[in-house]
Symmetry: C2
Subunit: 216 residues, 2 copies
């Protein structure tokens, strides 16, 4: 079998499990998010800013995917929000199967399940994790050209968080141009510039997620 | 054949070509660097800062690897340094075969060949590109924990550039702690904190590369 044929089979197998997982979560009234972004784009920090607001109204849970360490899981648990860790042991993305296995009892009574994927703006894109919504996270410190250089992630989603906007004065990149570049990949995007550090834009993003939960 | 067996065969095939490429480059007296880092870690900006210094003394050339666009290649060519682009069309890493094919005449009379890999801190690590030296680039804006979370890259190299140190006052990460975390993965690392924006540390890094060229 060729590499491409095998990869197609792996992806088809993943899609089957993802559909089963999505049906199971929807059956329980759980909305599922899949958070994708580069290492250091600010995925966990965004969750630390947003989840306490959402947890006031909704039962939230998190699956943390990492190549190594359970640091991120411990950051979420420190907020009083249940979280489980998937350490991929070198693998560059989560699979629906790994999420299904990790969920265990976590998905029992949740309104919102957030899956934070491995830090990778390429390989994560092809794997459906059974999510209802995918959110791509990109920091302004990565440079305004990143949507053009990694378009597949931006095409695969409806929602982008442009993080670390407080760094804009100190880097050679403009949020406005990054937003324009993302829209040139995918004109249908909802884009949320925000700074988890200053709190600017976090409320609007949290309300957007709350709206997804209200419209279940 | 299983996924793992096929991946082993792909890597063995890559290693064979990498050895051939390394022998060919060494035979011509060319030192080859493979630059690895996340999207937006500052790989191209580092080359823009360092290569003009090296080009005063050495014949330099660059292979740029990107999922999409030839933006980075054009940034290098604008410096008057020859560069060729590999657009991987979705693939998450370069292979020795893709580099060998792209090189064409570029490697003819070079003292230094720099390969800038695709922005990916995971998948690039397993692929030997025939380099003499691998350089891992990580920006302080990515967070001081990144060596712990993506250890394979830091274990696979002798040299790390910690970039964007000018952002340290504005982010919740300390260069000193990132250096300590990298050394905990691999105590043998040479680590160069630097800022391509202010120029701080760039000279020391350039001299380190020049030293590799002098000791050919």
């Amino acid at each position: 079998m060729t590499w491409i044929a095998l990869k197609s089979r792996v992806l088809a197998h993943n899609d089957t499990i993802a559909e089963r997982l999505r049906a199971r979560l929807r059956g329980k009234g759980t909305v599922c998010l899949n958070i994708i972004g580069s290492p250091g784009s600010g995925k966990t920090t965004l969750l630390e800013a947003v989840l306490p607001r959402l947890a006031e109204r909704f039962r939230c849970g998190v699956v943390e995917g990492d190549v190594a360490t359970d640091n991120d899981m411990r950051r979420i648990v420190a907020l009083g929000i249940p979280a489980v860790q998937i350490e991929t042991g070198g693998s560059c993305h989560l699979t629906a199967e790994s999420v299904e296995r990790a969920l265990g009892d976590l998905a029992g009574g949740l309104d919102l399940l957030v899956i934070e994927n491995v830090g990778n703006l390429i390989c994560t894109v092809a794997y459906d994790l059974g999510e209802d919504h995918r959110i791509v996270v990109v920091s302004i410190a990565e440079g305004e050209d990143k949507p053009l250089k990694y378009p597949a992630a931006f095409v695969s989603t409806h929602t982008v968080a442009v993080t670390k906007t407080d760094l804009e004065p100190y880097v050679d990149a403009r949020v406005e141009i990054m937003v324009r570049n993302a829209l040139s990949c995918n004109p249908g995007l909802r884009i949320f510039p925000l700074s988890a550090r200053t709190g600017e834009g976090v409320g609007a993003f949290a309300e957007y997620i709350a709206g997804k939960l209200a419209n279940r």
